[in-house]
Symmetry: C2
Subunit: 477 residues, 2 copies
């Protein structure tokens, strides 16, 4: 027997055809949902259900086996019960020998190592070994598969086909975690997704290989990872350090505590490892570690939407004192950020646009326009701040007065932000503290690429993360 050719990761994200082994005709069942989503997301209609008991499912020709699909199939979704998975593995082997395709396999099926039984572990080992012998690569088992919003790939029952497109690629050891991020994203249109990878038990393809792949993937602008445990931590961090020299990685690490580790173990058979050691390793590799789910979500989406700050001098533009106090507390707490110095010339120019009651530069870097503010004032002052070389980033905060219309405020903020050309832009984060009263304004801004926030401290934490990553990049590029 000749040596099997090892397939490329490309087969997962740019497959010529997708076979769904175990596709179901029962509406609402996971295995029907997988087929529906794959078909809805597919660009060339290259989705092939496999089920020996059906001739057709959902209008698509159904094949009795993987081997009987006449077209090229690069990606195989294995969604039969664990008992039947080995026979599918042998079909994959055979197909690779005969046609040379079927190089990528996502295994949705659960009931393997995560069960914590010797039988589960053995079955997983045998399954993976059989597939890998053919040179095919595996994501899973016990995973939700992969999706690519640009290439039109979706092997999951969880990624809505209308997920907004963007530059965030999420790689997750928890399918539910990644899915909840997407659904939040999808509803509020806050974040644009490029790729989705649910790793499950991570028996073959792991973080290291995917990070390497995503580093060179032009559509991926930021890589967001949910981790529970890692087999080869040193290897991962070595690779990550190379990736973060090119693009940001945002991570949330579960299993911080002994008890959390126990949960992770029952979930994906992961051993979590020491939290403090991870903390240092993340930082050294230039990975931004989020301390909360909200921070993970917001940091990921802002890295995608906003340019990096060139330095750590941040300006606060506000009409609300209390929330700004909270924001500044959070902003300066880690010592990495300083409020920007406003030059006398700049202050004078700003004063020319605002009411006499405005507070310009007390403390330095802080501007309270006060309640008697107009949309034009927002645009004018923001333009001055965007153009000033002494300012690296701006956080704007408001509960807009009732007399300012959402459309007017959004237009004013966009005018200010776009007053400088692409290469001269700096991050602008807008905190809109008025619930649905500013929903329309937020929607316009998000659609135009300006990120908005409900809470002032969320915006501050994101700005700290951007400044931290920017400093890392300057040291390591």
């Amino acid at each position: 027997m000749v040596e099997a050719v090892t397939a490329k990761i490309d087969d997962f994200f740019q497959p010529r055809g997708i076979a769904i082994i175990g596709a179901s005709a029962t509406p609402g069942s996971p295995n029907n949902q997988i087929l529906q989503f794959a078909r809805q997301m597919s660009i060339n209609g290259n989705v092939y259900p496999v089920n020996p008991t059906k001739n057709e499912i959902a209008g698509l020709t159904c094949y009795p086996s993987l081997l009987s699909i006449p077209a090229p199939v690069d990606l195989v979704v294995l969604a039969v019960g664990p008992q039947n998975s080995l026979s599918v593995a042998r079909e994959i082997q055979k197909r690779r020998e005969e046609k040379g395709d079927a190089g990528a396999v996502t295994i949705v099926t659960a009931g393997f190592k995560e069960m914590g039984t010797a039988a589960g572990e053995q079955l997983q080992n045998e399954l993976i070994a059989t597939i890998k012998k053919s040179g095919a690569r595996v994501i899973g088992p016990n995973c939700q598969g992969v999706a690519d919003t640009v290439n039109g790939v979706n092997t999951t029952f969880s990624v809505p086909p209308n997920t907004p497109r963007g530059g965030v690629t999420i790689i997750s050891q928890s399918g539910a975690f990644a899915t909840s991020f997407l659904r939040w994203a999808s509803d509020q249109r806050l974040v644009g997704i490029n790729k989705f990878v649910s790793l499950g038990n991570m028996a073959d393809v792991d973080f290291r290989e995917l990070l390497t792949y995503m580093a060179d993937d032009a559509n991926t602008k930021v890589i967001s990872m949910y981790l529970e445990g890692i087999n080869d931590a040193r290897g991962l961090f070595d690779i990550a350090a190379k990736v973060t020299a090119k693009k940001p990685i945002v991570a949330i690490k579960a299993g911080k505590t002994a008890m959390g580790t126990n949960v992770a173990q029952s979930h994906t058979a992961s051993i979590a490892g020491n939290n403090d050691i991870y903390d240092g390793a993340f930082r050294q590799a230039g990975i931004i570690r989020a301390q909360s789910v909200a921070e993970f979500y917001h940091t990921s989406r802002v890295f995608d939407k906003m340019p990096l700050p060139k330095g750590n001098r941040i300006c606060i533009l506000t009409v609300v004192g209390g929330p700004s106090t909270i924001c500044v507390d959070e902003l300066v707490a880690t010592g990495e950020i300083t409020l920007a110095h406003l030059s006398d010339e700049l202050k004078q120019e700003i004063a020319g646009h605002l009411a006499a009651s405005a507070n310009i530069g007390n403390p330095d870097g802080y501007i309270d326009m006060t309640a008697s503010v107009t949309p034009k004032m927002h645009a004018d002052v923001l333009t001055l701040l965007m153009r000033d070389d002494g300012i690296d980033g701006i956080i704007f905060m408001t509960t807009p007065p009732g007399f300012i219309k959402d459309e007017e405020l959004a237009a004013a903020l966009l005018a200010g932000y776009n007053s400088v050309p692409e290469g001269k832009k700096k991050p602008l984060l807008s905190v809109m503290l008025a619930g649905n009263a500013v929903a329309k304004c937020r929607k316009i801004l998000e659609e135009e690429g300006l990120p908005t926030f409900e809470f002032p401290d969320d915006a501050a934490r994101v700005m700290v993360n951007m400044v931290r990553y920017s400093a890392y990049r300057q040291r390591n590029s």
Copy 2:
């Protein structure tokens, strides 16, 4: 001249009449908004605009001065410019001498001590002294006033008259902060408000007096405070310790950092004080200090909606491994909470309701029902957990499978929660990780009093706060 009688705080929240000095006929202006909101919220139509240039505003008889209002007026809203405020103060004095009412004054007007000028401070001192000499009490200046959703009081331009009613009373040194809480509350119907007090420069009535008042206020179930600086910290904490023996106080303290303090000073002329000392003082007084805006919002609303846990033994009921790992990490991180021990009998009973693939008690206190779950399973297992004396609180987590309807899931959770009588209830926090896909379920649960969350770590922090407060109460009651 006889000694002036000092008015009661009751005059702010149960006024027989409300006079709005400086009411405006210009739609959309703050002083028109104040009148409109006051009228919309009023139960007896006891709102009296004062403006010498108008006979009528918005259908209400307009009076030339405070003195000319024939009906009893307990609450005066001072909303004229700072230059004219002293003459209103003298009218208040005169009215108190003549009629004995006008005991409560909220001063919306800004331009006093917060300006940081000697003139501003002097004007404030003179204004407050004039009013206080009459025995009347002042909230403000530079504040947004007060509201009471049950008594029908609203002197603000910021509290929407349709704000959902409930047991949360918010007392805030930042009007914008309190308002943003209300608006978030109002839109998502997540929290019910009882009273709203914006303290502004806090020249007379302060936290101490309001805490004392709210402690005995039957409609206030939880007191939520936003603080920047306190004049008499020891006095405040002494009083707070008495209040927390009766009902919870949740606080967010801004001005944690030197830079944040500078912002606070320009905002309400507050000196913030040392953050670590505050931290200890809060804890000693039984005040729950929130570390983020989200934590403040969620903790406040849950204290209102849920009973206190009797101990620290918490059970996790889930269908999502990753988010549960994050939740458990956050839950046990402070060492105050332990996962509940599930007895063999209980585990056996639970197993009788779930699929064989379910994980019951690995680790102890953790139940993963797995994806093959039905609404009935939710109700059945939740009933067992609610009835078990070894469990003090429950966090439930889900991204509901597509085949479960929102109404069915909500009904199942409510059935489980309501399977024990009032006195036997324990807190149940439900994390719904699916964006708008579970919006209907969340809405039903919130309306029926069961709090829901978007992020698992938010729910964990709230549970820690509840357990912490419950332990404090047991030690100090």
